[in-house]
Symmetry: C2
Subunit: 440 residues, 2 copies
């Protein structure tokens, strides 16, 4: 447990402190010989013993034997990895939160798992996902308030990082399945540009939209891990770059967002402006709104094909919501799908032009804090269009609601400008702390 942990919560009714582990801290301590990789994993084990009974983030845990024999060299050596249970793992069951795949054991690791291990990560276990990363929720609870959802579909990964059970977790996003749970659980979340992290060996829901990504305590942890996994330069230097120009994306769904959240967002913008960020309004265009609606046609048309076997052979084992979605998807014609893709392409090109004058967009990560109840993991209306465009999105944690639930700020960058997007998110993350200190 790092000594800089600061958050606490009495509302959760337990004594454990909400204290994510900093990946960069662990890496540094291991590099300097102040911590052994196996001791780093012991910290994860302690946190799991402490939190898992309350949170139910994991569907299965790696045996001590696997943990002890898995430690290898690499930039992420000693980093415990929580793996969303939509990625195939050769030595852990992979069940996609579907009874159709109860106790299913894949033959091989998904590509990103193999790359993670090569970078030194040690898989701690598989984390709760909604059914096939769609909407039907699992049992995971929000660490900040056990009566609230952690968000989804990457529910367990976000909650595992928030509670320090894992310093790094893998998730996926097709609508808002990384950014939303990261926001609800108060951790940094990264949905990279489409294809930056491989999705091979991941259960497909919609091949155009499914994107693999990461959860960690802070943005710099995400950047370090992405560097290690991709061999791309992503690490963030603390030397001050030029202050970025941010486009404020108050989308057409703005009125649906929680009022307190919106107020806190506007307050933050005032601070950002004072801190030197340049802010401009991004107009909401008809093309953007059309693309927002096109997302569902594309997602569902592809899902009905991707899940054709499950739908045809085990319809009674699908949740009602998924089965009805796939029933309806059979009314989406190929021409509807083709048109939706053209609409998305048009809006994406239009946004590309905006990015000529803007370094990144800033927006809300979700319509509000984590809703009460576990029956729904919340809405993706603030995420799905960016996913459709394949753009890098980062959830920046720090803000809290009046009920002491985390509120996320979303940074969205141009396609394949993941490093710059993470750098800007890091600047915003520090600015949020400064903003809170001012307010406090």
């Amino acid at each position: 447990m790092t000594s800089t942990d600061k958050s606490t919560s009495n509302k959760t009714g337990q004594n454990a402190r909400i204290a994510p582990q900093s990946l960069c801290d662990i890496v540094q301590k291991i590099d300097q010989g102040h911590l052994s990789p196996s001791s780093a994993l012991d910290l994860c084990r302690e946190r799991i013993e402490q939190w898992e009974p309350k949170i139910e983030a994991f569907t299965c845990l790696a045996s001590d034997n696997i943990l002890n024999t898995s430690i290898s060299d690499g930039p992420l050596r000693g980093i415990g990895l929580a793996i969303k249970d939509v990625f195939d793992t050769a030595d852990l069951p992979t069940q996609y939160h579907s009874p159709i795949y109860k106790d299913h054991q894949p033959a091989s690791d998904a590509a990103i798992i193999a790359l993670s291990k090569k970078a030194g990560c040690v898989p701690l276990g598989k984390t709760v996902t909604t059914e096939f990363a769609f909407f039907h929720p699992g049992p995971t609870r929000n660490p900040y308030n056990l009566a609230h959802t952690p968000g989804g579909s990457s529910s367990g990964s976000a909650a595992a990082v928030a509670t320090g059970m894992a310093p790094l977790a893998l998730g996926t996003q097709t609508g808002g399945s990384i950014i939303r749970p990261a926001a609800f659980c108060g951790v940094a979340g990264f949905k990279p540009s489409s294809g930056l992290l491989p999705t091979v060996g991941m259960k497909t829901f919609s091949w155009s939209l499914d994107t693999a990504g990461l959860f960690a305590k802070e943005v710099q942890d995400l950047a370090f891990a992405t560097s290690a996994l991709t061999n791309r330069h992503m690490t963030i230097k603390d030397s001050q770059p030029n202050m970025p120009t941010l486009g404020i994306a108050r989308t057409h769904c703005w009125a649906e967002a929680d009022e307190d959240y919106r107020t806190r967002f506007e307050d933050l913008l005032s601070s950002l402006s004072k801190f030197g960020f340049k802010l401009v309004d991004l107009p909401v265009t008809d093309e953007y709104i059309a693309a927002f609606h096109a997302h569902q046609s594309i997602q569902d048309f592809e899902a009905k094909q991707a899940l054709a076997w499950e739908y045809q052979t085990h319809p009674e084992q699908l949740s009602d919501l998924l089965r009805q979605t796939l029933d309806f998807a059979h009314t989406i014609q190929p021409s509807d799908y083709d048109e939706a893709r053209m609409i998305a392409e048009l809006a994406s090109q239009q946004l590309d032009e905006s990015f000529e004058e803007i370094d990144a967009l800033i927006s809300l990560s979700a319509p509000g804090p984590a809703p009460k109840g576990l029956a729904s993991t919340g809405s993706s209306i603030f995420n799905r269009t960016w996913t459709l465009f394949g753009l890098p999105c980062v959830n920046v944690p720090g803000l809290m609601s009046q009920d002491n639930l985390p509120l996320g700020i979303q940074i969205i960058g141009p396609y394949m400008q993941d490093h710059n997007s993470l750098t800007i998110a890091h600047l915003v993350e520090r600015a949020i702390q400064r903003h809170l200190n001012r307010a406090g």
Copy 2:
């Protein structure tokens, strides 16, 4: 066995006649009550008994029990389907021609398998692929000359259709793995626009390039099957459309093509011109040549990620060629990959502009007829760029070499104009017959 079979070959040293089954004939006979679905499957079984010992197209065959219980309704009812062994099948082993996956049994069907069954197809068995659909060959022989390769990587699927063991087969193409074996085995082959047929549940080699496609006797069989699988209008009407304008794609590799093949191609062009086709030369641009070379960087950079688990955990069970390719792939930097993708995008946009004046391209399907020997499945230099651009490609059979080996003509259409590409390929197919009759 249909009564219209015409090809024979004495060079193969066997008595069986090379007689692909016409899918459209079978469908029509079943529709009209002249053939039962189970009798249609019996024809496949007879052909398999006759040919399989010589050709070795299948890695495993469905049991009679599976065949008899699998007959369901749909536009392709009674159509036996040969499945390249890179698609997951829930009731047949899936081994990717790799010892790593010996006897591997997936939990579910790949999406295209489920869709095929829904359309009425009955899986006959899995067909030989090269290792992970790359180059290391399987045992399959060319039906026209057993000492020659059937092409690859979809070796077994092409050979199964050529010999009438299956009226329809599934293949995949990352470089030239559908068009080349179709050409070598004298059948119609279709690599649709990227993404038209789902690749979910197919072993990934390169996610940007891998494309699922089909083999059948004639182009109209491909069109009928594609309609049935996609619910898109693809069927070909015999009413004469306007004669198309074809761009002649004598690419920068032209000098590497067999001289007799090139001569026969030019003779065909003369006939096409006389038959009313409009022909224009497509210039070979620097951008095209750059894209040709970019293909390998993209393919190998993705393959090293897609096969990371196999490479890390079972390197000794990879073929030397694949292991060396993946060794080398580790020298391809992310910046090389990003640049290769930009080069491809640029050349693709340039070609799009050409398609404003041209309905489709016409080219060779391979550098020559099937080479002698089974150690190599031949070269993809006449295919890889079109795959990179995601364009629909059709192999049109009919021409033969002086050694009585099939020679393919390739039609390449604009992205997502699959129906028009198939229609043009059908016109060229009929024109080839007329051309041969004139010459004969």
